[in-house]
């Protein structure tokens, strides 16, 4: 973006006469070298105080026992150092394996479904006429824009056991088909949120519904940037639809896909709001994922902040590994330098 402007305005370096002195701002106050640091300072302070320092504190707390007496506002007592105790009690807990399983399975399934659906819709949008395409984009915007709390509440209502529209729709299926596919034909009163598996099924649907629009619109933006000559050439050579996707579209969109995969993984790995609301808070321990478990340990009574912090450290560590891949990709494709 930056480099086009000079050239467009006829001031490209090659043709321009050699400049003797670059214009400079009239000297006022600060020496030149200090200006960028002064501009960065407020933002950097906020990031340091409210993101980096807490991150350090999080790690520190994970090695301590932090309870009510340590967090009270008046005269808090110092936290007791417990070494790796918090971490070993995580590993000993049954909840670790169920919540890790819930986290990973949910993330893998949701990321896969979101990407597949999003890519298909992106390809579809690219093929549709301009009016139809705008119509569909506005529609998927509605799903994307719905706030996470509202998403959870709406899907809870759609899957309500007594008056939910999903149970009504499932009852519409012919009995033989319903029995064949689901092994049952009567869906009246089906309680979706009591069982962990069906709870996660609804969660997956809700999150895929809310996140596929972003993938679709990003893929569409990527597709628009591919020169149409490539497709014409492929058609001349007699390539099929699937062949063109594999040989042209996918390789050219690879950087887009890698960013989308990592972003979706990060978002889905730590899903909290929708799970918290669909599961009805922290009552169903079987449905915990890592972030909900961390929250439950830290904010139940009595609060075990140290243990909660240790769980959060584990979650963050997993995410930072994924992030590493993401940052490496960005640094490769973007002008960070």
């Amino acid at each position: 973006m930056a480099h086009t402007s000079t050239v467009a305005r006829g001031g490209g370096e090659p043709s321009a006469p050699v400049r003797r002195n670059k214009p400079q701002a009239r000297r006022t106050g600060l020496p030149d070298w200090l200006v960028p640091y002064a501009l960065l300072l407020p933002g950097l302070l906020v990031i340091a105080a409210l993101l980096l320092y807490p991150l350090y504190q999080l790690v520190d707390m994970s090695f301590h026992q932090v309870g009510l007496r340590q967090i009270r506002a008046v005269n808090p007592s110092p936290a007791e150092f417990v070494g790796l105790d918090n971490y070993s009690s995580i590993l000993d807990s049954d909840l670790f394996w169920t919540s890790l399983r819930n986290t990973v399975v949910f993330a893998v399934v949701t990321v896969a479904l979101t990407l597949i659906l999003g890519t298909l819709v992106g390809l579809l949008l690219n093929k549709l006429g301009p009016k139809m395409s705008t119509f569909v984009v506005v529609g998927i915007m509605a799903a994307w824009a719905t706030p996470p709390t509202a998403q959870a509440v709406v899907w809870k209502w759609l899957f309500d056991s007594d008056a939910g529209v999903v149970n009504w729709a499932l009852n519409l299926l012919p009995d033989w088909l319903s029995s064949l596919v689901f092994g049952r034909s009567d869906w009246s009163g089906q309680p979706w949120f009591n069982d962990t598996i069906t709870l996660y099924l609804v969660l997956i649907i809700a999150v895929v519904w809310a996140s596929f629009p972003f993938i679709a619109v990003s893929v569409l933006a990527g597709l628009k940037s591919i020169p149409s000559e490539l497709y014409e050439a492929a058609r001349m050579d007699g390539a099929t639809g699937v062949g063109t996707f594999r040989k042209i579209t996918f390789p050219l969109l690879k950087p887009v896909f890698s960013v989308l995969i990592v972003l979706s993984t990060i978002w889905d790995f730590k899903v909290f709001t929708q799970l918290y609301l669909l599961a009805g808070g922290t009552v169903n321990r079987d449905a915990f994922n890592l972030s909900l478990w961390s929250y439950a340990e830290a904010f139940s009574s009595p609060p075990k902040m140290g243990l909660g912090a240790a769980i959060a450290v584990v979650l963050t560590a997993i995410l930072l590994v994924i992030t590493f891949v993401y940052v490496r990709n960005i640094v490769k494709t973007e002008d960070v330098r």
């Binding site: 930056a2 960028p36 906020v46 990031i47 807490p54 008056a163 830290a298 912090a309 959060a312 979650l315």
Partner: protein, 283 residues
């Protein structure tokens, strides 16, 4: 089948798929809005009622008058607006300064700062909840909207700087140089030349921060205990917990919360994509 018929059939199939996607995306939102306007006997039924007949304002007016958790939803909408607007204004100032530094100057640690921005964005905010909670408690900011505001500034800042720097970089540097030649100082140049040109980008970035803050749930849930200071998302979850069967009221509140986001979303949708994908999409 002649090629023309086949082509036409293909077009029909594509449009049908488009309509199916549209319906899947829109139906839950449609159901939320229509439920808000249905009388109770049309909500608690096992039959399918596609449209409220006749539409009733009962639920909408009830969430305003009787409200949730002892307060009208006006209160929660107001709290949410205070938090989001304050966070956006503070964040916009900090982000604009930092973005100018990164886009206009070459200095040591510039690359390190950009990489720091990327990494910090990826730290799950849920993980920072525990230390920030103890910090807020210690500073006496528990139950204060101020604490929530400052935290939201921090949560949205890295992305704002990242997005805004491309807008600053897009302004031709010659304009500023011309202003310097005319004898303007650094501040005048920034305020009279750069700022007006970056303003559209600043608006887009601010809208994004507004949406993030408006939707923020976890911190609002943990840092606010006083029901009079709830933001809209927390009031909504309280609603669900308290009266899990009042679907009309819950849907009315959800609709009210979704409307501003939806409007803002349609305004900035394009820029958001390019910002999030951060350069991977070359357009």
């Amino acid at each position: 089948m002649s090629p023309i018929t086949r082509k036409r059939l293909g077009r029909v199939a594509l449009n049908a798929a488009g309509i199916a996607v549209f319906l899947f995306a829109v139906f839950p939102v449609y159901w939320m809005v229509t439920t808000a306007f249905k009388p109770n006997d049309q909500i608690f039924t096992t039959s399918f009622i596609p449209f409220p007949d006749p539409p009733s304002m009962d639920h909408v007016s009830r969430v305003f008058t009787e409200g949730v958790a002892g307060h009208s939803v006006w209160r929660y909408l107001l709290n949410s607006t205070i938090v989001a607007l304050s966070a956006v204004v503070m964040g916009a100032v900090f982000a604009l300064l930092a973005a100018t530094a990164v886009a206009r100057f070459r200095f040591r640690f510039r690359t390190s700062f950009l990489i720091l921005l990327l990494i910090v964005q990826m730290v799950p905010s849920e993980a920072l909840l525990i230390p920030l909670f103890t910090m807020v408690k210690r500073l006496g900011l528990y139950d204060q909207l101020l604490g929530l505001i400052v935290i939201n500034v921090a949560l949205t800042l890295p992305f704002s700087v990242w997005m805004l720097r491309t807008f600053v970089a897009a302004v031709p540097k010659e304009l500023e140089e011309a202003s310097w030649i005319d004898g303007a100082g650094r501040f005048t140049t920034f305020w009279r030349v750069l700022f007006p040109l970056v303003a559209p980008g600043l608006v887009a970035t601010s809208i994004f921060s507004f949406i993030t803050t408006w939707n923020e749930f976890v911190f609002a849930l943990t840092l606010i205990g006083d029901q009079g200071k709830y933001t809209m998302p927390v009031a909504l979850q309280f609603f669900v917990g308290q009266r899990s069967t009042d679907w009309g009221g819950i849907m009315a509140a959800s609709t009210l919360m979704t409307i501003p986001v939806l409007i803002f979303f349609l305004l900035v949708q394009r820029r958001m994509v390019s910002g999030l994908v951060a350069g991977a999409v070359k357009g």
